[in-house]
């Protein structure tokens, strides 16, 4: 549920509106490079350019609204640890995704699940390692064997 337009804004909301405006401007510049055509024969750039300009205008208005609204009083501070955990999970997933084809589904998934079990919401080592190994076996059987999903194999063949 979002706040109404007149509510106080946080610095994050101001940055978000500024970011959206910047995205709109960049999108407009990119869309300008495409053939625009004309109103009688709209080209590939017609719709994207119209949308990008509209996005810039709406985001700009949003930025103005957030800047004019009173700055929200600092509420209960969010848990820094919670943020770090979420960021670490996302980073681990990015590394996993980018390394998956090099190291294969089996090894990559074992490392990812062991990391998530052990580092994000710490479980004892046997639970983390046993859980990771079980997950690899179950997903291998379920997805690779039963459903025939072609998962990356890596140099070890699994």
């Amino acid at each position: 549920v979002t706040a109404p337009d007149t509510a106080a804004s946080t610095p994050g909301q101001r940055w978000a509106a500024a970011g959206l405006t910047a995205f709109g401007i960049a999108a407009s510049l990119q869309a300008r490079a495409l053939p625009f055509g004309g109103i009688t024969h709209p080209g590939p750039g017609f719709f994207p350019l119209c949308l990008a300009v509209a996005l810039t205008l709406v985001s700009g208005a949003l930025l103005l609204v957030t800047l004019r609204a009173p700055l929200a009083e600092a509420g209960a501070a969010r848990s820094r640890r919670g943020l770090v955990r979420a960021a670490a999970t996302l980073a681990a997933l990015f590394v996993y995704a980018l390394a998956l084809e090099w190291i294969g589904f089996g090894v990559g998934t074992f490392l990812l699940i062991a990391f998530l079990f052990r580092a994000i919401e710490p479980q004892p080592w046997p639970v983390a390692l046993g859980g990771a190994a079980t997950t690899v076996v179950v997903t291998h059987v379920l997805f690779r064997i039963w459903l025939g999903v072609r998962l990356p194999t890596g140099p070890w063949g699994f």
Binding site: T2, L20, P48, L93, G148
Partner: protein, 501 residues
């Protein structure tokens, strides 16, 4: 119609179609129960499995997954306070409170019965409305389609519960992101940055999984994984007479609301649940009790989301337009089988149309029979602590996205949208307008460009054709209605204060 319905049931009860229906509703319930895995990802994952099936069986199974997920989603909302499916978010408010008060059985029971009643009514609605609508749909050209989509965009932005500016910005962003890939008319690459992955456009499944699945898990992780696993004793699944008395109105209103809202493009099953909850709160004599565990807060939204699944089938079956993301995947299942849904579907493939519609009734009955005894099994599944569950949810999301095209970059796109979705939650931006505009954007572009080509650049074509003009009028009405109502209310308030002063 009666002959056609009888024919549909004859098709639906053929052994293979019955089996497909059972598999669909069972898998649907399972993924509805499990948080983070929604019907879109599951249906996408199972698309290749439908190659070997008949067109009727494959569509029956896919549809079963969708409405089965609506049943399953409420179980997790009620027992664990985590929506198993996005359309069950609102059920958490009162369903979980009821469970805490020892009324988990009543909440689960009324949810199942309400879903069955709403699902059955929506099937009846399809049977009565789809054939005449299909005849009207034959008159739909690009201007009418664009005007219809405009209604969808207007609904999704103006029905958003908070900042309208943010909702409009998200819808525009969704439309813009939908333009990436090859131009639909000239095949010119747009915003592909020379990559093969983007030449097909941004994948729908990675985007959805990122914005909803990954973002949800990240938010839960940030909050410290404190979603406790409630261990209620499930008793009394059959609602009492008082429960029925309290729920009859909400179920009836939720069914009608969900069905008709579900027909509109851009609405889906989520928005009707919020509107149903708001309506029930508005008509209740004790609105202050909502959120504390009242059965009306469960019955109305659960009926609405099931009725919406039926309603959303109508634009797909009669116009060939996917009104929401799940229907887009179902459209893919139709196309894989070489069947084009649209105005001619009833005439050219009556066995698919009537078979699928009748199977939805059979599937709803299966779900009721299946779910009451299986509640215990779902509860066992939910007793897995979230600290153990979340890595598995993330992994299933990864496999689901990778399995669609076996492309690592789809995973990267999913994670980027996961990060964006997480930030959007924190900054109070709603993802629904973005996703729905993204889904409908390509069709909107095609239809407006074709309209301009037809009219040699005159936008008047959108108002000169009667059907397009009427649809455009509805869109404008939806746009200005909140302002007019607000203005009228303030005038009435001023008049009252002047007369009392």
């Amino acid at each position: 119609v009666l002959d056609s319905v009888a024919f549909g049931f004859a098709v639906a009860v053929q052994p293979l179609n019955l089996l497909a229906c059972f598999i669909g509703v069972f898998i649907g319930t399972l993924i509805g129960v499990l948080p983070g895995i929604g019907p879109v990802a599951t249906m996408s994952l199972l698309l290749p499995a439908t190659f070997a099936m008949s067109p009727t069986a494959s569509i029956i199974m896919m549809a079963g997954i969708y409405y089965g997920a609506m049943y399953g989603g409420s179980t997790t909302s009620i027992l664990v306070n985590i929506p198993g499916e996005a359309a069950s978010v609102i059920t958490c408010l009162d369903g979980y409170r009821m469970a805490r008060q020892g009324r988990a059985g009543a909440a689960l029971g009324i949810s199942a019965f309400g879903s069955f009643i709403a699902g059955s009514l929506s099937v009846l609605g399809i049977m009565l409305l789809a054939p005449p609508l299909a005849r009207v749909a034959l008159d739909f050209g690009p201007p009418e389609i664009f005007a219809l989509l405009l209604i969808g965009f207007t609904m999704v932005t103006w029905l958003s519960s908070g900042s309208k500016l943010k909702a409009v910005a998200m819808a525009l962003l969704g439309l813009f992101l939908g333009t990436a890939g090859l131009d639909p008319i000239t095949a010119t690459p747009r915003f592909t940055f020379g990559t093969l992955t983007l030449s097909d456009g941004i994948g729908l499944v990675p985007m959805i999984m990122g914005l909803f699945g990954i973002a949800e898990v990240l938010a839960n992780i940030e909050e410290g994984l404190k979603q406790e696993v409630f261990r209620p004793r499930i008793r009394g699944l059959l609602p009492t007479r008082q429960d029925w008395k309290d729920s009859a109105g909400p179920i009836a209103r939720g069914s009608v609301l969900g069905f008709f809202l579900g027909i509109l493009p851009g609405i889906g099953a989520i928005i009707p649940t919020f509107i149903s909850y708001a309506v029930e709160k508005r008509v209740s004599r004790h609105p202050e009790k909502f959120g504390t565990g009242v059965i009306q807060g469960v019955a109305g939204p659960e009926a609405a989301n099931n009725a919406a699944t039926g309603g959303s089938m109508i634009p797909l079956l009669t116009l060939g337009i996917a009104p929401n993301v799940v229907m887009a995947v179902l459209l893919g299942a139709f196309l894989i089988q070489g069947v084009q849904p649209g105005p001619l579907l009833i005439k050219e493939h009556p066995e698919i149309f009537w078979g699928v519609v009748a199977s939805m009734y059979v599937g709803n009955a299966m779900l009721l029979v299946l779910n009451l005894p299986l509640i215990g099994l779902w509860v066992q599944l939910l007793r897995v602590p979230y600290a153990i569950l979340f890595p598995l949810v993330l992994l299933f999301s990864v496999i689901g996205v990778y399995g669609v095209a076996e492309n690592i970059w789809d995973l990267v796109i999913m994670l980027i949208f996961g990060a964006v979705g997480y930030a959007m939650r924190r900054l109070q931006y709603e993802p629904a307008p973005l996703v729905l505009a993204f889904v409908l954007g390509r069709l909107a572009e095609e239809s407006i460009r074709q309209s301009l080509l037809m009219s040699r650049g005159s936008l008047a074509i959108l108002v000169e054709r009667p059907l397009a003009g009427a649809l455009l009028g509805i869109a404008v009405l939806i746009m200005i209605l909140p302002a007019v109502v607000g203005r009228m209310r303030s005038v009435v308030a001023l008049t009252r204060s002047a007369s009392t002063g």
